[in-house]
């Protein structure tokens, strides 16, 4: 992440909160998830800290361990998530504010679940009933 500490904070934080509010309104009205790429903006470290502090801490936090750690947590605003993706070296590759019922990275995929089901069947001593084809 670049160092933009020499920039002011307040105006950018307010602008980002307004953009997040627009995304929230869009989700509430139309069910469309949205996100803001914070790494792509010239934000200082202090600006990011101020933004994170203003959004507060919510009820949910999760870590996804694949190709490095991804951490997502709900802010004090329901449905507004603070998500940080890091690679295997710990470098942050994406920092997002997400608006969604559940962040996409947490959702289990049906194909992955199908592979999981095969593994699950292999774990038991019983022969589980297979679904009718």
């Amino acid at each position: 992440m670049q160092n933009f500490d020499f920039l002011g904070d307040d105006g950018l934080v307010d602008a980002l909160l307004m953009e997040a509010a627009d995304l929230m309104q869009d989700f509430i009205s139309y069910g469309r998830a949205g996100s803001i790429d914070l790494l792509g903006l010239p934000l200082s470290a202090s600006c990011l800290a101020a933004l994170e502090a203003r959004l507060g801490q919510g009820e949910v936090a999760a870590t996804v361990s694949i190709s490095g750690e991804s951490q997502t947590r709900e802010t004090a605003i329901h449905g507004l998530w603070w998500t940080r993706h890091a690679d295997e070296t710990g470098r942050v590759v994406a920092l997002l504010i997400e608006v969604a019922a559940v962040p996409e990275i947490l959702r289990a995929d049906r194909e992955d679940m199908a592979r999981g089901l095969r593994r699950l069947r292999g774990l038991t001593n019983f022969r589980l009933a297979r679904p009718a084809s």
Partner: protein
């Protein structure tokens, strides 16, 4: 394919999120990119090496994350690359002909090295065929051409004065195909990865600047993204490579840094597992991703201002103006590129 590669959808989505951030695409595009990658056929890539030093190939082999590199290689089929393939001689030539025949109109033609055209191109041959002749033979059936490295993009070091081989870039020979230039000596590996993933995902090249470079990576200068930029704005310049200013990490402008006129992603993506880039190692940018960088007036150690930096009396103006211009430029460049792809071009 995902199951075989050991990647779950979450892994592919995370990869896509990182790539969309890298390509300055809206983050919402990541889901579509992941879905497209999950369905994608392996993209045929035919890589021809011309008048070059193999540094560009070395850079591709040193992408920062082995897992990501492995994923990329699941999505491309590197059908011909002389330094990496085991076949040689007539077997290699047969492989090339077969790859072209099997992927006619669909393959990406990757070129590293400049194209010598003097004296009928006799200064660089492969299997007895001049590079310029090979380029003219294989370009028409390509979906697009990737000119990898400054040599392939603009002629590079072989083109340096007096240019005895008549070296030129790919775009000087081929004018009727989509071409993306990925300059750098060598180029940043993640830029090549990003362009490949974009093409595999969306079937088209990413948005380019007026020099056919991917805008997402070349839309800003090294200077705009440099962590030493605040020192430039404050008028703090190192006067030699071992003075107090250099030890304090001050701006290297007066030591010849070409960051202000060089477009590349070194300052943001960095090198060697995100360790550093030349300026972070204490040396000014050479401007290696710009045309004719080797012959630039004054050489590598003369400042762009002609031997001295901005006057100290202008420090206050530079500080105020520089902050505003730098921030606006960085912001504008990111948003200029931030439009979703418009569907396949193939």
């Amino acid at each position: 394919m995902l199951g075989k590669s050991g990647f779950s959808r979450r892994g592919l989505l995370k990869f896509s999120i990182a790539m969309t951030a890298s390509l300055a695409l809206p983050p919402g595009v990541a889901s579509a990119m992941a879905a497209n990658l999950a369905q994608a056929r392996r993209q045929s890539v035919i890589w021809l090496s011309f008048q070059e030093c193999t540094g560009c190939l070395e850079t591709l082999l040193r992408t920062s994350s082995p897992t990501i590199a492995a994923l990329i290689f699941d999505y491309i089929s590197l059908d011909y690359q002389e330094a990496l393939m085991s076949a040689a001689g007539s077997a290699a030539e047969l492989t090339l002909r077969q790859a072209v025949a099997a992927n006619r109109g669909k393959y990406l033609l990757a070129i590293d090295g400049s194209v010598p055209v003097a004296d009928g191109g006799v200064y660089s041959l492969t299997g007895g065929q001049a590079n310029v002749s090979m380029l003219q033979q294989f370009a028409p059936d390509a979906a697009a051409i990737l000119a990898i490295g400054t040599c392939a993009a603009y002629g590079g070091i072989p083109k340096a004065y007096p240019n005895p081989t008549g070296a030129v870039g790919v775009e000087d020979v081929i004018t009727n195909k989509p071409i993306v230039n990925i300059p750098g000596c060598p180029p940043v590996p993640e830029v090549l990865s990003g362009v490949l993933v974009y093409f595999v995902s969306f079937g088209r090249l990413p948005d380019l600047d007026d020099r056919k470079r991917p805008l997402a990576y070349f839309g800003t200068t090294i200077h705009d993204q440099c962590y030493r930029r605040p020192f430039y704005d404050q008028g703090k310049f190192a006067k030699s490579f071992d003075d107090e200013g250099a030890r304090q990490g001050w701006c290297l402008f007066e030591l010849g840094c070409k960051g202000p006129t060089t477009h590349n992603a070194c300052a943001s993506l960095k090198w060697n597992d995100n360790t550093s880039f030349p300026i972070e190692s204490g040396h000014g940018c050479l401007g290696c991703s710009e045309p004719d960088f080797w012959d630039q007036e004054g050489g590598f150690y003369t400042s762009l201002a002609g031997g001295k930096g901005p006057g100290w009396e202008d420090t206050g103006i530079a500080a105020a103006g520089g902050i505003a211009v730098g921030a606006a430029a960085a912001f504008a460049a990111r948003h200029k590129t931030a439009k979703p792809p418009q569907g396949p071009q193939k």
